[in-house]
């Protein structure tokens, strides 16, 4: 007979498995660790998650993480507001910031994937079109993940954006196809930005 965890621990394991790259085994290990750790440590973790979740929201403009209505990048006076870099996820902003990029961002919140059921309606594309109409951009940089979903999304966006007569460029990847933007280091990304191709 397989050992049965007490019900509350089982639901904890169940919640933990929902986190990215946490499988059932790791979830069990984390749950055992939390049950064993001092009470205040576990409660502190719970409180920190709650606080972060309650205070942080998406920036109304770019969709990145923000602790007020707008994120610090969108509120800054020293950023180049004429250059917009489109990324898939909030964590991609951190990767591109490392390259020394000084423009601003727009987060799509994913990429097109029929397999995962992601359609254009699930992405922040209407928000993007709205921004292009109101803010005056000189250049749009497509910095999507170097995988087939990223490529598909880029093709789709180029088609939508072509009526605005903007300069659209795409990262010149030194990153192998199948990769993930957030795992590229600052050096690779600054190279990719330098060598970006006009579409």
């Amino acid at each position: 007979m397989r050992y049965r965890l007490p019900a509350p621990v089982r639901s904890l394991v169940n919640e933990l498995t929902k986190l990215p790259s946490i499988g059932p085994r790791s979830a069990e290990r984390l749950a055992y660790y939390l049950m064993k750790s001092p009470k205040e440590e576990a409660l502190n973790l719970a409180a920190t998650i709650r606080e972060a979740k309650e205070k942080i929201s998406s920036c109304v403009l770019c969709g990145g993480l923000a602790d007020s209505e707008k994120c610090y990048i969108c509120s800054s006076d020293s950023r180049d507001k004429k250059t917009l870099c489109i990324v898939e996820n909030p964590q991609d902003i951190a990767a591109i910031e490392e390259s020394g990029y000084m423009g601003i961002y727009h987060v799509l919140m994913g990429s097109l994937s029929p397999l995962d059921g992601v359609t254009p309606d699930d992405l922040r594309i209407s928000e993007l079109v709205e921004r292009i109409k109101t803010e005056q951009f000189d250049e749009i940089i497509l910095a999507l993940d170097p995988n087939v979903e990223g490529e598909a999304t880029a093709i789709y966006l180029k088609d939508i954006l072509k009526s605005f007569n903007l300069k659209i460029t795409q990262l010149a990847y030194g990153i192998p196809m199948g990769g993930n933007l957030e795992y590229a280091d600052g050096m690779t990304l600054s190279k990719a930005l330098e060598g970006r191709r006009v579409y």
């Binding site: 059921g117 254009p120 087939v148 979903e149 598909a152 093709i155």
Partner: protein, 336 residues
Amino acid sequence: MKLEKLSLINFRNYKNRDFEFVDGVNLITGPNGSGKTNLLEALYFASTTASQRTSNKKILIKNGEESSRVKVFLFGEEGRFDLELVSSLSGGTQARINSNKVKNSEILSSFPAVIFSPEDIEVIKGSRSGIRRMVNINICQINSRYIDLLLKYRKILRERNALLKARTDRGTLGVWTTLLRESSEEIDRERQIFINKINKSAEDLSPEFGLNEFVNVNYRSSNYTDNAGFRDEELGYTSWGAHRAGFYFQLGSRDLKDEGSRGEARISALIYRFAFRQMLEEETGKSPLILMDDVFSELDSVKRRLISEKLKNDQVIFTATEKPEELEKADNVIAL
């Protein structure tokens, strides 16, 4: 590059067994069903991470066991090294070189091998997908980029099929069509380059093997058309592309699938494999290990001698139920 030793655990009928080989001619003998083909299959698997006779990797694992290990000990320009494939029923195959984990594609360039097998006739006279599989494995052996092209193609295909199956959101179908077309055309190009080289060698080899027509492979790509696009939407899946393309073995302009005798298919397979061996040697700069499964039993003595002559500088492993005359001088005989 020379094979020195093979060590099998739970592979096909083998529980736990080691075999040692010499440079030159090795001969494996044993009655029907004793495991001769399985042994060559293990070596081919170590070379290509694929089997010559099945795409179902699970049946390579001994019945009743959870995992298998195939390990080969090699001697190359870099000195001695070993290469290991551990496969499990649940989770695919992990490759290691000198105990370090490597991508499966790295195996392909380390240990080139060519197999001549009686099943080649069935492949040539069989389904389009069987020939495609055989040629795909061979292209992977000489072209390190090709496996990535295939994987990317499959990913795009799965996405496009998911979209077609859902029968909604046609707004993005064009995007996936564009991507799939590009990817498919890239694969077509690599395949055509490969086939051209094979056909060139086959032109020299055909008369040597007593044929008065040239053995050649004809590649027919499967291209997107507007009509195919409409058909896809009706069918709910992709009906064109690199996964539907065909390789046709021909003698002159006759298709061997429908019009060839078994003897003609056998010689054509032999010529294809010899052409590939030459190409593999040229492209990798290494002399490949030659695996000859029961090849002599079906050939006349002239062809047997021709083959022995052609392979005289190679490391070869033959299998046979009984020792053929031509192999009296085998350097190493392993009786199963």
